[in-house]
Symmetry: C2
Subunit: 444 residues, 2 copies
């Protein structure tokens, strides 16, 4: 790590309110250890005082994107569950495929997905998956930042809450603080109330939060109302989950009353719009969430539904679909979309004062973007280009926790060819499909 | 040109019905002059018989994408009309900005946009714009394929029909056949019936088609019904336009009766879904168009609304939004989306037997795609990757009319730096904005 100077960059900023996005030209960003020490006009820092100097002429520096809800290792099955309904996706494809999963697959799948994330400028991820000690090793190895939740279903019994809580206790603060942990019950429709209550209690004891799927579709909300007279969000309130810092994944089926309820609690929403569209589902009421002051962060969900871990696509689709669903081109202006990407993400992720800004005191999770591509020309409006034009290969250099993990498209912490080869060698056993053998059954 | 061998490629094909997309490994594609001569197993052709040999190991060869409705030179104003309603977009932004347009701007803007297209694998474009002799020069220079329509408004008077027909007559078949022409009245809401009739008559005399905006929004359909009791599509029928091979841009406001009407005529639909979403408008009923057997092609519209000329994004958004609007993940399966990109595009463009397939006899408008990127791994499902994962820089090499115009990302027919510099020097005069000075007024 040591001292790092990013020289002569354009520095991006966006207001927390989302009303202003700015680009400050000719700036130096001074990094000392994990954190940004100063942002000042170019030329005022002496390069000889730094261990590493990156010439950023013509490039934009912005905070790395934060993926607020993913199942990164599912990248292993990319393309194996296409053109399907939610029911078929779970019961005939994904949950039978996951029956093949071996612990070591998680290590290599996590690495492959983290490479895809780093290459596209995603520096942190709230991951919700299985065999998470293997995922943690991958995060540590590649130098990424992650908030790891060991996924569990109610059918696994309450001992699973204890087991995953042990993981959470062991790994919180690991990798020099780059890893934090979170309790990860799957969803109200796969976990009964006692299981959810036990998860909340475990999280509270550990001083951590909860990461859970909820109200993924309107059908789930309707089914919950029919079965027990309350919405899935109300279930989370009654079981104590909402009192904790909680990442609510999706919430597409939120009712207006759910929104008023969520406002009272320290929760944030992870939004993975590409997945909703691919499954033929209406997107979430993001405009209403934002109006209620709920924190919103971008998410990829798993690659088996989302196809990629490219969060620029989520950002773009979020803005486009909110314009469409409100019937107003003025909805979700560029600066608001960028505020969600930066500050919304850091808030949902639980580190609002550490991540999401290029400012002194923040952690140095930064990406350098090359705006010289034809698709950005002429550069009348750089914030527009970030939301509507950016292609992942425009991300040239990535810094996480003060460490350069990719420089000029070259990964510095991992042997990409080895990861590709390992994943390829696992394709056959992973893609075996016997629909009757599934890890769970989906029934709202 | 001469003889070109693409050696050891994976060759993409998709059925016209859209029910099957296939990848054939280890193929050689033999090109003689403008056309594909043979597609045969690798190793059976002698490389010494060819002027140029491209090693395509690990790459996919597919037909170049066809942009069925664009205003390419509008790339000059990228980012200058954001977060706006349709009315404000036209009246306060786009049409005042176009008041600044000088003929030579069209040449440089067209070149910039054609570079963006080539770099992202778009080999042909149906362009609808002004000062089209300048656009034609740019197409000729860079080696692209284009169907050029000289845009006109009814307010310019019937002499404009004659003037643009002269352009159409002069340039049809230019650039060794790479340029075709088409009559281009702007829209039923900016051209009166006499003007539309005169446009149809001119097209018929020249043996060419018509390219027109129609029913861009449901509001336009409603306004037409209110003002004159018929839909914009019916206006085109009554004025003789539909009898010609016609590119109908957008048609988001088509009624079920419009669809039954369009079925009877040799028309095709150009679909530019990103633009609709950005302007907060519902997308077009593509599923219904497809069920009626109407040809559908991908389109970018102008960059001022669409932000980019990246047709992979249109392809992806088309599939995603049709799934969402029908509420079915099964809607618009991957093979159907790819059939629209390939065969739908060539049909709407008017060259269904020349373009859209890697087969003997077809014109050699081909792109080579590198699938080695992390975002494609592991390669369980290449057709899925084309629709849902592809990033434009995955396009490595582009061939148009048998000529290699980009090889390994290097443009061979144009000095990109000069084009960028010319466009930059025009940014100031082009971005001057005085809303009262506009080329037209939008009122449905």
């Amino acid at each position: 790590m040591g001292k790092l100077l990013i020289h002569n960059a354009q520095v991006f900023s966006v207001s927390k309110a989302g009303d202003r996005a700015d680009i400050q030209p000719e700036q130096d960003v001074l990094i000392n250890g994990q954190r940004i020490e100063a942002v000042q006009p170019s030329g005022s820092a002496d390069p000889s005082h730094f261990d590493t100097v990156i010439d950023a002429k013509g490039m934009l520096v912005m905070p790395g994107l934060i993926n607020c809800h993913a199942h990164v290792p599912m990248v292993l099955w990319r393309g194996l569950a296409e053109d399907a309904s939610v029911e078929r996706w779970f019961n005939d494809l994904m949950w039978p495929l996951e029956n093949n999963l071996q612990p070591e697959d998680v290590y290599w799948g996590m690495l492959l997905g983290l490479i895809e994330q780093i290459e596209s400028g995603v520096t942190a991820v709230a991951d919700h998956y299985f065999h998470m000690t293997y995922a943690a090793q991958a995060v540590e190895k590649i130098g990424a930042r992650a908030l790891l939740g060991y996924a569990m279903f109610g059918s696994q019994g309450l001992s699973m809450v204890e087991e995953t809580a042990r993981f959470a206790a062991d790994y919180n603060g690991a990798a020099n603080g780059r890893i934090r942990t979170i309790m990860a019950p799957h969803a109200p429709y796969t976990c009964d109330d006692d299981f959810l209550r036990a998860s909340a209690t475990a999280a509270q004891k550990l001083g951590i939060g909860v990461h859970i799927h909820v109200s993924e579709t309107t059908q789930q909300t309707v089914a919950s109302l029919r079965k027990r007279g309350i919405t899935p969000i109300q279930v989370l309130e009654q079981t104590g989950i909402l009192e904790l810092p909680t990442i609510l994944a999706h919430v597409c089926g939120a009712t207006p009353a759910d929104i008023r309820l969520m406002e009272k609690y320290p929760v944030g929403i992870a939004h993975a719009v590409k997945t909703y569209l691919k499954l033929g589902q209406p997107t979430a009421p993001i405009v209403e969430f934002a109006a209620a002051g709920l924190p919103i962060g971008l998410a990829s969900d798993g690659v088996v539904s989302n196809s990629t871990l490219n969060l620029w696509e989520t950002l773009r689709l979020m803005a486009l679909t909110q314009k469409e669903r409100t019937g107003l081109g003025e909805t979700m202006p560029i600066s608001q979309a960028l505020a969600i990407a930066a500050h919304g993400g850091s808030q949902v992720y639980g580190q609002p004062n550490d991540l999401g800004a290029v400012e002194p005191g923040y952690l140095a999770d930064l990406i350098l973007i090359d705006l010289s591509g034809t698709h950005h020309q002429p550069l009348h409006n750089i914030p527009m280009s970030l939301v509507y034009n950016l292609q992942p290969p425009d991300v040239r250099t990535v810094i996480i926790d003060g460490q350069v993990v990719m420089r000029d498209h070259q990964l510095l912490t991992i042997d990409k060819a080895e990861v590709f080869a390992q994943v390829r060698s696992r394709m056959e056993h992973l893609s075996y499909l016997e629909p009757s053998k599934r890890i769970q059954t989906y029934d709202n």
